[in-house]
């Protein structure tokens, strides 16, 4: 694509905007719904799109999450490919009946007559001192809903590619944007609109031989930082970026697990009921004998202020967790993990 912006340093939020723009140029059936999206508030992911496509395609809604989501479902099932923006995970709950009971099930219940090409962009994780109602991750919740695909992009290029994929899919996609990444910068190559439609696979974003970090979203940033620190200690951490959580690329997880024999499953929801449990079970089932650890959120509502750092994993806690996985089986608790909660299966 001979677009001037064809290759440049952009933020995650800008990459999302680029993907929306390229998709909207390619597909006039795409309509965006959300609050203050014409102004691009608060993260800029829709900035300038209203000027470019008009109020007919970039539609500011009232603060009516349920009706907006339901409207998007009805539009999607009648030929209007709809993108709904929900700024924070907590607000998604207001549209969840529409998403789970309708969008995810209509194709199945109608015996395939209805398809619902709806894509829901929703912020996940903490943003930095927004406290409990604005800080939560719902990855396991959403992945467990039959009928939904769940994307969890980890950098600008990944966000662009997954969003373009999601906007070619005929069934509903939840696009989980990690709020800690909105300002993260990276190269962006804008792909032609006619790219393949196969389900994107997980990617090894850093090869390693000693242990694997299975991650997604902001977890990739943490894992790469930890890998760098560990490299200084002679430890080669492989970083597997899942990209999608539903469907889950179990083969890629098993491949990396067999290669390193030590796997850290990294997530942002609590260990009880959270996505790290599914990742760990997948390793145990598909790569028997690997030693597996889970690092996720503390089982707390997110406190206000810098205290939120206790709840979610950090690069330090990822590195510590990997060291624990590398320790001799019998070995004591090892170094304490302050950011997030860690458990290990000392097989």
């Amino acid at each position: 694509m001979s677009d001037p912006e064809a290759q440049l340093q952009v933020t995650y939020a800008e990459a999302i905007r680029c993907a929306l723009q390229d998709a909207m140029d390619a597909d006039p059936a795409i309509v965006l719904l959300g609050q203050d999206i014409a102004a691009g508030f608060p993260f800029g992911a829709t900035r300038e799109l209203a000027a470019r496509y008009g109020a007919e395609r970039v539609r500011d809604t009232p603060i009516s999450e349920a009706a907006s989501m339901g409207c998007a479902v009805g539009a999607a099932m009648t030929g209007t490919r709809t993108v709904v923006e929900v700024d924070f995970a907590g607000f998604l709950l207001l549209g969840l009946d529409q998403l789970v009971n309708n969008a995810a099930k209509l194709r199945y219940m109608s015996g395939g007559q209805l398809r619902v090409p709806l894509l829901v962009r929703v912020g996940q994780g903490p943003l930095g001192a927004f406290a409990a109602q604005h800080s939560q991750s719902q990855h396991a919740w959403l992945a467990s809903v039959p009928g939904l695909a769940l994307c969890a992009p980890s950098d600008p290029q990944d966000a662009y590619e997954l969003l373009r994929w999601g906007l070619r899919r005929q069934d509903p996609v939840v696009f989980a944007e990690d709020m800690r990444l909105y300002r993260a910068r990276g190269e962006l190559v804008r792909e032609p609109a006619d790219s393949a439609a196969e389900i994107p696979r997980a990617r090894v974003v850093r090869p390693g031989r000693d242990a694997s970090a299975v991650c997604f979203g902001f977890g990739r940033t943490l894992a790469l930082a930890a890998a760098q620190a560990l490299a200084g200690e002679g430890v080669e951490l492989e970083v597997l970026d899942l990209r999608l959580l539903a469907p889950l690329d179990g083969e890629a997880i098993a491949r990396s697990a067999r290669h390193t024999g030590r796997v850290l499953c990294l997530g942002d929801d609590p260990l009880l009921g959270g996505i790290t449990a599914t990742l760990a079970a997948t390793v145990h089932e598909q790569a028997p004998g690997a030693r597996v650890g889970r690092l996720g959120a503390r089982h707390w509502p997110t406190p206000f202020g810098s205290a939120e750092a206790y709840v979610y994993p950090s690069a330090e806690s990822v590195a510590s967790a990997v060291r624990r996985l590398l320790g001799a089986p019998g070995e004591g608790a090892g170094e304490e993990i302050v950011n997030g909660e860690f458990r290990m299966a000392a097989s």
């Binding site: 339901g70 409207c71 009805g74 009946d97 529409q98």
Partner: protein
């Protein structure tokens, strides 16, 4: 209240025939239920046929419908094939949804019946999107969505009225007020001057009609549908009554309604009301009823003969 005759539209005999078809279809489904040929639950619309038939009679074939748990009548009125509908209730592969949806989740895209859904209020906002697609495509179609007096309790209804009004969407909200939500009288759960007045407060055009009078329902629908096509969405409240219990788990008359009340309403049977109004002879009515029964009998046999979906069919429509 607007009771204009529905010139150009179906004749009284045709309206009677459609109501008779719904009546007998529901009866047959109930009997199949009692014979354990049907599983789960069903919600019959006997007594409310005038609403389904009246609304659809005033709409165009290209218009779209959405409905709720009590949706068989709406589907039949819109033209869903009785055999494939019955097969769906039986959970058979020749059902409109391949037997995967069942009584509470009926869809037949081919005839514009986009779906009945089981979560009260949940189908309402879908109408906005259906209307938005039509508006964008420059089609002149209206999307009508049926819900009950119980649906009036759901906040999403008001969010949806508001959105329809600000976006000038061609939506017709049809409240089928049969005075009860299961055992709960609407009067106990609905504050203020009424549903019609609520709709006006959200910028909709609104009318309240006697749901037992199919021609009155059709007339009011025509008025509101014309406004909806012009960008002024509306709400139609139809006062009606279900002659049976809420569902299989509710005795035919329930404990919460007096025999007098039930009998008073049964005296306002929409078929009888139309026959009297349009002076249809007893013979004519009997013939139309017999035709309906024959069609429904055929539907039941079709359903019985159809197999259940196999594992292969059931695994479809999830991924890929």
């Amino acid at each position: 209240m607007n009771a204009a005759p529905i010139g150009g539209a179906p004749t009284p005999a045709e309206l009677y025939a459609r109501m008779a078809l719904i009546r007998d279809f529901e009866r047959a489904a109930y009997r199949a239920y009692e014979r354990n040929e049907l599983q789960g639950t069903i919600h019959a619309s006997i007594g409310q046929e005038g609403v389904a038939v009246g609304v659809v009679a005033a709409l165009r074939a290209a218009d779209k419908l959405l409905s709720h748990h009590r949706g068989h009548g709406h589907a039949l009125a819109k033209g869903v094939d009785p055999s494939r509908l019955m097969a769906e209730l039986f959970g058979r592969v020749d059902g409109v949804c391949g037997g995967k949806g069942g009584s509470m989740h009926i869809t037949d895209v081919g005839c514009g019946f986009l779906g009945s859904l089981a979560v009260v209020g949940s189908s309402i906002p879908l109408a906005l999107g259906v209307a938005l697609s039509a508006q964008r495509a420059g089609e002149e179609t209206v999307c009508a969505v049926f819900f009950g007096d119980g649906g009036v309790g759901q906040g999403v209804l008001y969010e949806s009225m508001n959105l329809a009004a600000i976006w000038r969407l061609p939506v017709l909200f049809v409240c089928e007020n049969n005075a009860y939500a299961i055992t709960t009288p609407a009067a106990h759960t609905t504050a203020g001057p009424g549903i019609e007045e609520r709709a006006r407060a959200f910028g909709l055009a609104a009318l309240r009609v006697d749901g037992q009078d199919v021609e009155q329902v059709a007339g009011a629908t025509r008025t509101l549908a014309a406004q909806a096509r012009a960008g002024q969405p509306g709400l139609l409240e139809c006062l009606t009554y279900r002659f049976l219990g809420h569902s299989r788990s509710d005795p035919p008359h329930g404990r919460y309604r007096s025999r007098e009340e039930v009998e008073r309403w049964q005296g306002r049977d929409p078929l009888a009301v139309l026959a009297a109004q349009a002076e249809l002879s007893a013979e004519a009515c009997a013939q139309l009823e017999a035709a309906a029964q024959a069609r429904v009998q055929e539907a039941v046999e079709f359903a019985r003969a159809s197999p259940r979906p196999d594992l292969h069919v059931l695994a479809q429509d999830v991924w890929g």
